[in-house]
Symmetry: C2
Subunit: 486 residues, 2 copies
Amino acid sequence: MSDIDALAARLRAGLAPDQVLTDRQQLRTYECDGLANYKVIPALVALPRSAEQVAIVVRACVDAKVPFVARGSGTGLSGGALPHADGVLIVTSQLRDIVELRPEDERAVVQPGVINLQVTQAATPYGYYYAPDPSSQQICSIGGNVAENSGGAHCLKYGFTTNHVTGLQVVAPDGEQVQLGGAAPDTPGYDLLGAFVGSEGTLGIATEVTVRLTRLPESVRTLLAAFASTDQAGAATSAIIAAGVVPAAIEMMDVLSIEAAEAAVHCGYPAGAGAVLIVELDGPDAEVRAQFDEVTRLCDEAGAFEIRVAADDTERQLIWRGRKSAFAAVGRISPDYIVQDGVIPRTALPEVLRRINEVAAGHGVRVANVFHAGDGNLHPLVLFDARVPGEAERAETVSGAILDLCIEHGGSITGEHGVGVDKARYMPRMFTDTDLDTMQLVRCAFDPDGLANPGKVFPTPRLCGERPGRHQGAHPLQEAGLGEVF
Amino acid sequence: MSDIDALAARLRAGLAPDQVLTDRQQLRTYECDGLANYKVIPALVALPRSAEQVAIVVRACVDAKVPFVARGSGTGLSGGALPHADGVLIVTSQLRDIVELRPEDERAVVQPGVINLQVTQAATPYGYYYAPDPSSQQICSIGGNVAENSGGAHCLKYGFTTNHVTGLQVVAPDGEQVQLGGAAPDTPGYDLLGAFVGSEGTLGIATEVTVRLTRLPESVRTLLAAFASTDQAGAATSAIIAAGVVPAAIEMMDVLSIEAAEAAVHCGYPAGAGAVLIVELDGPDAEVRAQFDEVTRLCDEAGAFEIRVAADDTERQLIWRGRKSAFAAVGRISPDYIVQDGVIPRTALPEVLRRINEVAAGHGVRVANVFHAGDGNLHPLVLFDARVPGEAERAETVSGAILDLCIEHGGSITGEHGVGVDKARYMPRMFTDTDLDTMQLVRCAFDPDGLANPGKVFPTPRLCGERPGRHQGAHPLQEAGLGEVF
C-alpha cells in the first residue's frame, strides 16, 4: 500500500468516505486555481466539514510526511492553491457557516468557506457590510481572502483583508488548533494574526475568521472622467489625494483597456479618451456632496474633457461595468494575456506608465493598463498570442520587467494577488537573502518539515534542520569581528 | 575581568568611550521607565548613534551571552524597558534624525529616538501630521511607540502605531540588520512588520522607521457633554458609533476622575456630573458640521444635562485640559494609584463599569475611570495609600480583577500600554498554553538564547532548545491517536 493509499484509508476512517477523493477524474477538478497556466493534479482531495476534521487531515499528513495545500474557492491569481502532485489538497468550501453576526460590536464570525459577498448580504439588513471587495467577491471565499490578504477597488479607503480580520482560529502546520487575535482591536503578545493573514497557506489553515463589519455609508456618488492621456489622469489622482480627499475608490483604465471593455460590454465611455478615471466617494451625505464638487473641479483642472456623474444606481453600475469587465474583456482584443499585479508609490504613476509603454514597445508587445490608481496598485494586462512562436516568451519578459520597474520605484511585486507559485522567483529581486532567511525562520518555527504549501512564496526553501543556520556564513556582520565591522 | 568588564572594553573600542556607561550613579538614571514601582539598575548602558552601532552592541551581547534591553525615552507604563541587572541597556535616544520627509507620498523615515510630536512638527508645514498620539507624545520616542504599538486618544478613528508604520530597519536579536516592510502599503511574504510592532523589544531593535503621514483635517470641532451617570455616557457613545459616525476621539471620565482633574487644573467641568464625554470630530468642514449636529442630538437624547461646544482653539484646549491631566491629577486625591489598561467591546461598557464599581466597593478601594470610550479602552485608576498596611495589596487585587472582567467580556488585558514585566503574569488568563507556546516559537526562531528583553511579555520563557517541544506532551491533539480525537 502506497503512502497515499494508507493516508486515504486513515482519512476515510477519520472523516467520512465521501469526504476523501482519490479518483483521478474527480481530482482533475482541482488541478489549478484562477491562474490556469499552472496545472498539477493532487494525489488526494479532502473535504473537511469542521475545524476538528481539518486538524485530523493535517495531523495525518504530518505523520505521513505528506505535503498539504489548502484551497478555498480556487479564484486566486498567483497559483497559491496549486496542488502538490504527491500531496493532499484540503478544500475548505464545506466550512460555510456564518457562525455569529454581532453588528452592535461590528463583528462577524464566519467559517473559511463562506463567500466574501455573503458576509455583506448577511450584514446588510443591520446596516453593515464587509468592506474588502476583490473583483471575484461573488465567488471567492473568506479563507482564501485571509490566505492572500486580498484587496479590491474600495481598499483605498478601507484597507485590505488584514485591516478587517481581528481574530482567527487556525490549524497550525503540526495539526494544533490555535487562536490568533480575537474580537478586540489588538491583543497582547506578538501580532501573529497579521503574520498569518497573507501567508498564503504556509503557516496553517484558518478554520474560523472574526471580521470587522463596516457601517453602510449614508451616501455614495460616482463619476467617470475622461482624459487625453494617462499622464493627465495620474495628475488628477495625485491632486485628489493631495487635497486630503480619500475616495472609496479611484480606478484608472488606459486606451487599450477601454477599447477592450467597449468591445465586450459596450459601456459607452467617452470617445477618444486616452484614459478614464472612475472616482467613487462614500460617507455622510454632507461630506460626499462637498468633496464631490472638489473632485470634479480637480479633474477639470487636470484636463478632463468630459465628466459624467452617475445620477442613480443604474448609471453608477454602468460606469463600473466597463471597469469590472476589463480583465475578461481583454479576451476580445487578444487571444492570451498575463494579468500582472504590482505596486508603486502613487506619485510615480506617470513615470512608470511611460516606462511600461517603452518596455512593451521595445519588445513588440501590447500592454493594457487597468488599476487601482489611488493606492498605486497596477494591473497591467500583457497581451500575446500563444500560437505565434516567441510571443508568450516576450510577454513573460515584459511582465517581469514591469515588476522590476515597480521595485525600482520603491514599490512591490504584488499588490493583492499574492506571490504563490508564480512570483516566488521574483522575491530575490525585492528582498536580500537575509530578509528572506528571516521570513523563513518563522516558516521553519511553525513547519519544520516544510509540509504546508511547499514551493509557494519562497524561491528556495530553507533547510529548517540547519538551525542556527543564519549564524553560519552569508552575512558579513555574522562573520566579522567587531573591529572589522566598525 | 568579569563578563561585563570585557564587554565594556569591547564596546568602548567599537563605539566611543563616552557611549558606554558603567558608573553606578550614571546607571541609576535608567533604573526604571514610566512604571516606577519596578526598579533594576543595568550592568551597562550603551548609547549608540547609528544602526551599525546598535548591531555592534547586540552582536557583542550575543557573543558574551549577555541579555540586552532596548529603551527609547523611558515613558512606557508596563515596565517594558525595565533593565536587566546583569545585562546591557541599549538607549536609542541618540538616534534622533528625521532621515526623510516625503509628504507627497505620505511618508516620513525617522530614527527611533525621534520624539513622536517632532514628526508632526516637521510635517505640519506641508499640511500633514503623524496620527498616533499617546498622552506622552511630547517626550515619548517613535522607537518606543513601535515596541509597544502605542495608541492615544485619536486612535479611535486613525488606528494604532501598527497602522501607521509601513517599514522598519531592525537589528535582529542575533545582530543582523534586516528590512521589514517598506514604503508600499503591503509587501509580499510574511507580515513580520506587524509581528515586530508591539513585540516589546523581544524580536530586536528598530533602527529606522518609515511612518505614514496623515493629511491635517480641514476642520476640528470638540464638545463636552455632561451626564448624570457613566451608564448614560456609555449609551451616548454606543449611539454615536451605531449612527455610523467615527469621531476622532470619544473620551469618558467618571465622577472621581472629574473631581481629581478639577482639583488639579480647575478645568471647570459642569458641576454635578456623574460622567463627562469629550467628543471630537475632524475632517472636511461639511462633514464635521453635519455630524456634529447629530452627535449633539444623540448626547441630548442619551440624557446629557449640559453640552458645551468649543468656540475656538482656546476653548478646545480647556476641554482637553481636564482629560489630559487626569492621570497626574489623581495624585491630588490619592497618594498612590495604579494606572490599569484593559479593553472591552464598546457595548459592554455600562456592564463592566458597574462590575468594576462592585469589585472596588467589595474591597474598600476607590477606582477613578478615565478612558477611550469609543474603542472600549479602559484606564481605571486604582487608588490606594501605600502607608496604610494592606491597601497596596487590595489595590493590586482589584486591579487584577479588572483585567479578569475585561477578559470575561471578550476583551484584552492591555489596550495600548503593553504587557512588559507588569502583565506577563496575566497572559495565561487570556491565552492557553498552546497559544503562548505558538507565540514563543517565533521568539525562539529569532532569539534562541533568549537574550532580547528576557522576562517581558511571556510568563514562563520557553526553553528554545527543546524543539520540537510542542510535539511533546501538553496538547491533547498531539498525544492522541486519530481515533481518540475524532
